[in-house]
């Protein structure tokens, strides 16, 4: 296999007595696109939040490029630069323009020059078709546009891996497509991505590997074609079944 970017080794996560992730392990290779699916409340968001140490873990370890991700470490901010996170509700900074949203962290965190970052930001905005919005405020954009800006903002930090947590769940149906297309393009360009989504057709199209999470552990994982056509475990079968509709018309 290609080099491993992210190693998740036997992590445990609980909220009080409520065990959410129970000894979960996962290796993510360079350029790999992994889609994580599973029923609501199974811990998909929690897993992504643990990866960039927004949540502390109670056991096991997570390493990025061999480096331990530790919520208490002094190097945490350093490590987080390498992890791009895109949230369900975009979480753009409302008091900054699109361009300012994008260039702030590269300038303040990576100490890159304003000119250089602005140029890169504009190129990326161009690619997602939003260059004309560079001086708009988030409130002036549609949900789909805000989410594409959020993706560009994360990309501009040159992350090793991108995490997407149901990034289309808050969007109107007609805007889902533009965001998914942006992600497909990233996948085509060899980005390493970890995607949580409920869009099954999209998952099938983009994933190199599908992970089915339930009850705090990985119940099944594999090639998307195999998984979606012949899920091996009963739990996965049952889960996928909830996305299908029986015809009620008389044949």
């Amino acid at each position: 296999m290609a080099d491993t970017v992210l190693t998740i080794n036997n992590i445990k996560k609980s909220y009080g007595d409520n065990l959410i992730l129970n000894g979960l392990s996962l290796d993510v290779h360079k350029g790999e696109v992994i889609v994580i699916i599973g029923p609501s409340g199974c811990g998909k968001s929690t897993l992504l939040r643990c990866i960039n140490a927004l949540e502390p873990i109670q056991g096991g370890e997570i390493r990025l490029d061999g480096e331990l991700i530790d919520g208490k470490s002094r190097n945490l901010a350093q490590t987080r630069q390498k992890i791009g996170m895109v949230f369900q509700n975009y979480e753009l900074f409302p008091h900054k323009t699109v361009l300012q949203n994008i260039i702030l962290a590269p300038m303040k965190v990576q100490k890159r020059s304003k000119d250089e970052v602005t140029e890169e930001a504009e190129q990326l905005l161009e690619r997602v078709g939003l260059l004309d919005k560079r001086d708009s405020y988030p409130r002036q954009l549609s949900g789909g546009q805000m989410q594409r800006v959020a993706i560009v903002r994360a990309l501009c930090m040159h992350p090793e891996i991108m995490l997407f947590d149901e990034v289309t769940a808050a969007l109107d149906p007609e805007m889902v497509r533009e965001v998914l297309d942006t992600m497909l393009e990233l996948a085509k360009n060899g980005r390493t991505m970890l995607i949580v989504t409920h869009e099954m057709n999209f998952a099938r199209a983009i994933a190199d590997r599908v992970i089915f999470l339930d009850g705090g552990e990985i119940v099944e994982e594999g090639d998307p074609e195999d998984f979606f056509t012949h899920p091996k475990t009963e739990r996965a079968q049952k889960f996928l079944h909830t996305f299908e509709y029986e015809s009620v018309k008389h044949k």
Binding site: N52, L54, A77, Q78, R80, Q81, I83, G84, M85, F87, N89, E91, L92, F93, P94, H95, L104, A105, K108, V109, Q110, Y137, R139, Q140, R153, A154, M157
Partner: protein, 220 residues
């Protein structure tokens, strides 16, 4: 009402006005710094300091300024044998009181900004301090402006209590005029006018800033 009396009192009231403005704004300056520090201590739950901050806020907000001033003005010399200057006492007293109110204002402003904005910022590799400075505080300020302006007006009005520790501000001037002459109506009329001169600009500028800042930050 005797307009000649009013005209002849104007220089006295002008002196009172200057002292009101000087002590009031100096006290407010202290209260802003103190309030910001206290709010950050409470927000970040700094051990020990957080408890002190909370006790400070509750005591200052639940006792009258007059009593606080008496404590500082008469109590401190008795306790520590330091001679205290009344202006310094007034300014410090107002600063302490204002600090408690400002702390609550800033804290609720910070809390009005979602924690997920902080997460969004640190996910980009910012330190918590950078996130606080670039992302949270600018938004918190916008949320705080209405309560902040109300505090300014409240604190400027509270300077009238300074007359009780012989600071020759506006209220002192009015009381003095009433005591030494029989010009109650003129004296009171002037004190009202002069307080309006102090407060109306704050009120007007405050609401303009409020609207502008809201629009600039959030577009409504």
């Amino acid at each position: 009402m005797n307009w000649d009396v009013i005209v002849s009192y104007l220089p006295l009231y002008k002196d009172g006005l200057l002292i009101t403005l000087y002590t009031g704004w100096l006290g407010i300056l202290i209260s802003i710094v103190l309030g910001l520090v206290t709010a950050l201590i409470v927000h970040f739950k700094v051990p020990v300091l957080k408890t002190i901050a909370k006790i400070y806020i509750e005591i200052l907000r639940n006792t009258p300024l007059l009593i606080q001033l008496f404590f500082i003005y008469y109590g401190i010399p008795k306790l520590f044998g330091i001679v205290t200057d009344e202006i310094a006492c007034g300014v410090i007293g107002l600063g302490l009181l204002g600090g408690a109110y400002m702390a609550e204002t800033f804290r609720s402003g910070i809390e009005a900004v979602d924690t997920i904005q902080m997460e969004s910022a640190v996910s980009l590799g910012m330190t918590r301090r950078q996130a606080m400075f670039h992302i949270i505080l600018p938004q918190a300020v916008t949320y705080s402006v209405p309560a902040f302006v109300a505090n300014l007006i409240f604190l400027l009005k509270e300077t009238s209590v300074f007359s009780c520790i012989s600071i020759m501000e506006l209220m002192f001037t009015a009381k003095d005029r009433i005591a030494v002459s029989s010009t109650t109506v003129e004296s009171l009329f002037l004190v009202v006018v002069f307080y309006l001169i102090v407060l109306l600009p704050v009120s007007i500028i405050g609401s303009v800033v409020e609207r502008r800042l809201r629009y600039a930050s959030f577009g409504n």
